[in-house]
């Protein structure tokens, strides 16, 4: 266990109130749209109404005549600078502005720049674009039909098939299935949804002609990586680019990719020599930026009569839309989807994924999950439930029989992952106890007799976060280490800068607590700064719950470097040898003589005023941390629902979430993360879908159709925890931000299916709306 510091120091384990909240709750945050620069002008995007159409002409004459319009950029203009296309983060390219044809509704066609945003929007209305409609491909299952149109004329391969990826032992798996007495399967769709962060995407590009320096204020989860990509793609020397991510109003993966609007704003600023602001509308965000999921999955389990699982076989079709704009490590075309064996001990497993193009917005990004683990966790937790139901074994008991046991760690999965640590049964038991499982089951039985519909759903998920070890993980070639720099000032206060970037996670508080834990400098004396590439050390940013496992670890390592130097200074001040010193939070003292001590503050002062001979002045350190492995948080969620037979409405009566993320930095922040992620999971399970009609019209392109949960829809969350530290992380933490989004959808769906299982219902695809439930009830004759 981690030694607990005093509340004054506020190291790990203290529920310190978030430092950043004092400005957020006063409306004093500084978001990209709050950036106002002298002479700033505004961009507005002209977008395609068609999902698939040939561009016949673009007439900008009328728009140009509108007073206040400064420039209109089209794909043809960009093509002259070789910028009409840009690389995506996954071996594909994407149109910045359309040339030739458009491939999805709301695709970027022209960029209007004007003196204010209203003129820009009006001018965009005046841009006349002539299209010739082409046949539309919406259904990914038809992508490789000979009758379907080939969408990507730019590719050499004349096919809508992007990739085939497989992992595991196909033969051993097939063999296990041949001899297995019991088989269970499910076809489940992890539907197209969208992170829909409260703040949409946007930027202010400011090219200074005198200094030739380009500053981009950007809604970026990965400012350094974006700087490098802007430099490589745009040919601008990297030292002349400064990316600043100010406060970010939620990212959830949506702010990892580079979007055409950013590139257009940069081009416009380079052309005009003026700062250019571009901020998306809500609908633009939902319709054109990184969506998540759209995985069409089949899972089969081979098992024996006792429900002991033998093998898992998974086949998945991934719909990436018009461009493969997935944001994930380059060695993993389907991200970490091969985590689909979950918390269970399978002897054999095989997983294959095919990616295809359709006439939909490009993606898919990892929405609050470590690269497709939400899909994987949802699938395994669904099919395990189906197996339990098939064998009439209680779903908790079936899970218990198949869990990887604590003494099996480090555990190598049949699909190639090595789990660091876990105690799955511990989390399950705690959740069962908290929810009063036996009592709930009894109640369910009684209710069924009365014809009432009540269900209990369990999800015992395993996450894999903290990408990642550089030997396995890189984004666009850049290894996924991360960094921290700590400078201790002469008065003993400190500033830290990281390569990550908070979007609401509370980094300004939690990183300070790590420093407090390691150095004994009170967390309130530590300032954390992120997001300015001119000042922060290089890093890959914040997503995939990686900040604590990477930059958090780097913070501890840098602090330990500082402590090592502090020890030398303390020995100098106390006139003893280093070996005679012992560390106690915040001070070094002479062994056996605790009164002879020097506090870290005294040592810091000496580092600038009384420097030992042969030692450099100052007290600071940088660390670039390359984790040896991912970390593997886990948990068990249990959901109890009641279903209204008349309306199909689902009420979540209880939801217990037991999470194990190893050692915790700030319990209150962890709890907040879990509340938020569960609320998103609820929305995915019951409310959200970016749908397309047969012509490729977006049917979830505004908050009228794409529903965001409010306090009204959100039930009371009951949280609990167990603690199984990561053995390889410097302070045993694992990362937690995404666990609730990964683990909860299956719990909700399992609960609904459980409520209806006696009617013969085996599966319902998300989002499970009242309409869907009502139709099931009608079909099953429960309502007329």
């Amino acid at each position: 266990m981690i030694a607990k510091t005093s509340p004054e120091i506020g190291g790990m384990g203290h529920s310190i109130k978030r430092k950043e909240d004092s400005r957020f709750i006063q409306g004093k945050g500084n978001y990209v749209d709050d950036v106002h620069l002298p002479g700033m002008v505004y961009g507005h995007m002209v977008r395609s109404p068609y999902a698939h159409a040939r561009l016949k002409s673009i007439n900008t004459e009328k728009a140009k005549q509108l007073p206040g319009v400064l420039a209109i950029i089209t794909g043809e203009d960009l093509a002259k600078a070789n910028l009409a296309w840009m690389p995506t983060l996954f071996f594909d390219k994407q149109m910045v502005l359309a040339t030739g044809k458009v491939l999805f509704q709301a695709q970027e066609v022209a960029f209007v720049v004007a003196q204010d945003q209203y003129i820009a929007a009006d001018a965009a209305e005046l841009v006349e674009v002539e299209y010739e409609e082409l046949p539309v491909l919406v259904d990914p299952h038809k992508a490789t039909d000979p009758s379907s149109p080939i969408l990507r004329e730019d590719r050499e391969e004349k096919s809508n098939h992007i990739f085939h990826w497989e992992v595991g032992d196909r033969d051993a798996t097939d063999k296990a299935f041949q001899s297995a007495p019991v088989k269970a399967s499910v076809h489940a769709i992890s539907q197209r949804c969208h992170p829909a962060p409260l703040e949409t995407c946007g930027c202010v590009a400011d090219f200074n002609r005198a200094t030739e320096k380009l500053t981009i204020y950007l809604t970026s989860q990965a400012p350094h990586a974006h700087r490098t990509l802007f430099s490589i793609v745009g040919g601008i020397p990297e030292q002349n680019i400064r990316v600043v991510s100010p406060d970010i109003g939620g990212g959830f993966g949506n702010k990892v990719p580079i979007y055409p609007g950013y590139v257009c704003a940069v081009v416009a600023s380079l052309t005009l020599g003026l700062p250019v602001k571009w901020i998306e509308t809500r609908s633009e965000n939902l319709q054109s930026t990184g969506f998540a999921r759209d995985y069409h999955m089949t899972a089969e389990i081979a098992a024996d009569q006792n429900g002991k699982v033998k093998a898992l076989r998974v086949k998945t079709l991934a719909d990436h839309g018009a461009f493969n704009a997935a944001a994930q490590p380059t060695k993993f075309p389907a991200g970490l989807f091969s985590m689909c064996t979950g918390s269970y001990d399978f002897a054999a497993s095989f997983c294959e994924v095919d990616g295809v193009y359709t006439n939909k917005a490009p993606g898919g990004i990892a929405y609050r999950c470590s690269f497709r683990i939400t899909e994987a966790a949802y699938l395994i937790e669904r099919v395990v439930d189906i197996l339990a139901s098939q064998l009439k074994i209680d779903p908790a008991e079936l899970r218990r029989r198949n869990f990887i046991q604590p003494d099996q760690f480090p555990y190598k999965t049949p699909l190639g992952w090595t789990y660091d640590s876990g105690n799955y049964e511990g989390a399950l038991n705690k959740a069962l106890e908290m929810v009063g499982y036996a009592q709930l089951r009894k109640e369910q039985e009684e209710k069924r007799k009365k014809g009432e519909l009540m269900g209990i759903g369990i999800s015992s998920f395993t996450e894999a976060v903290g990408a990642g070890p550089a030997h396995t993980f890189d984004i666009a070639g850049i290894k996924m280490f991360d960094s921290a720099e700590i400078r201790v000032h002469p008065t003993g206060k400190a500033i830290c800068r990281m390569g990550t970037k908070s979007q609401g996670q509370g980094h300004e508080t939690t990183y300070a607590q790590i420093v407090a834990q390691e150095l004994g400098i009170p967390a309130s004396d530590v300032i954390v700064e992120e997001g300015d590439t001119d000042t922060a050390p290089y890093g890959l940013g914040t997503y995939a719950s990686r900040s604590t496992p990477t930059s958090g670890a780097a913070t501890a390592m840098a602090a330990r470097k500082i402590r090592a130097k502090a020890k030398k200074i303390a020995a100098h001040l106390l006139e003893c040898s280093e070996e005679d010193l012992e560390w106690e939070t915040g001070k070094f003292f002479v062994k056996g003589a605790p009164s002879k001590s020097k506090t870290i503050q005294e040592i810091a002062f000496a580092a600038y005023t009384n420097i030992p001979a042969g030692l450099e002045a100052g007290l600071e350190a940088v660390n670039y941390y390359d984790p040896p492995n991912l970390t593997f948080p886990f948990g068990t969620y249990i959901c109890a629902v009641d279903i209204d037979k008349g309306t199909g409405e689902i009420k979540v009566r209880r939801f217990v979430a037991v999470d194990d993320c190893g050692n915790v930095i700030n319990p209150m922040i962890v709890q907040g993360q879990i509340h938020g992620g569960l609320t998103e999971g609820l929305a995915i399970a019951f409310m959200q879908l970016i749908d397309y009609d047969e012509n490729g019209n977006v049917q979830g392109g505004s908050f009228m159709d794409y529903l965001i949960p409010t306090a009204v829809e959100t039930p009371h969350w009951e949280t609990g925890s167990t603690c199984t530290p990561s053995p390889h992380h410097p302070f045993g933490a694992k990362g937690v931000g995404e666990s609730p989004n990964v683990g909860s959808p299956a719990a909700f769906v399992n609960a609904v299916v459980d409520a209806l299982s006696h009617l013969g219902v085996k599966h319902i695809d998300m989002p499970i709306t009242p309409w869907k439930v009502w139709n099931v009830l009608k079909e099953k004759g429960v309502v007329s």
Binding site: P49, A51, Q105, E128, N697, Q699
Partner: protein, 185 residues
């Protein structure tokens, strides 16, 4: 987005009179809010335009109207209309099958089945709004038709007809919104 709308209504005029009106696209256009026939290509093909304004979104479709089938014996007509917005905001097509039935009281029952297909900005508003907009437009159409049928014959070239103007923007959006909420509440 595809929508199928079935409507029927009754008028007091005899079936022959209604047929002579409904079988002439130029006359029909006069009753459709925001629509006009701009040219006749031949006896079956016309060019036309329709302006639909929903809330802040105006769509000006220009395109062709074709009489696919005309069965004067059974009083059945099938019309296909296709158009693209002049500013490239989307397209729409509609196949309408109209059928007349003589009523015992000497009046006529008009039944129409319209299959509407909308692509673009308008289609994003979802079927709830589009079907309400269609309902409102159809209501206006019926009213206009009844008015025109009860009036003495007018030359159909009266292209300056007030019905040729787009229907009121604000009220259409408001009525559609009311329709949506009324149905769901």
């Amino acid at each position: 987005m595809a929508l199928k709308i079935e409507k029927s209504f009754q008028v007091k005029e005899p079936v022959e009179k209604v047929w002579s009106f409904l079988s002439d696209p130029r006359k029909v256009a006069l009753c459709v809010p925001g629509a006009q026939i701009t040219a006749q290509v031949d006896d079956k093909n016309y060019k036309g335009a329709i302006s639909v304004k929903v809330g802040p979104s105006v769509t000006d479709y220009k395109g062709e109207v074709q009489i696919v089938r005309m069965d004067a014996l059974n009083y059945e007509i099938e019309i296909l209309g296709k158009g693209q917005d002049v500013r490239g905001r989307g397209s729409a097509s509609m196949k309408m099958t109209g059928k007349l039935r003589m009523l015992e009281d000497g009046g006529t029952e008009v039944t129409s089945i319209s299959e509407l297909n909308v692509v673009g900005i308008l289609a994003q508003m979802g079927s709830r709004v589009i079907s309400e907009v269609s309902n409102i437009m159809f209501g206006e159409f019926t009213k206009n038709l009844q008015t025109r049928l009860s009036q003495p014959d007018q030359p159909s070239e009266a292209a300056t007809d007030p019905a040729g103007k787009p229907i009121n923007a604000g009220s259409l959006a408001w009525q559609a919104a009311k329709g949506v909420f009324r149905r769901e509440s």
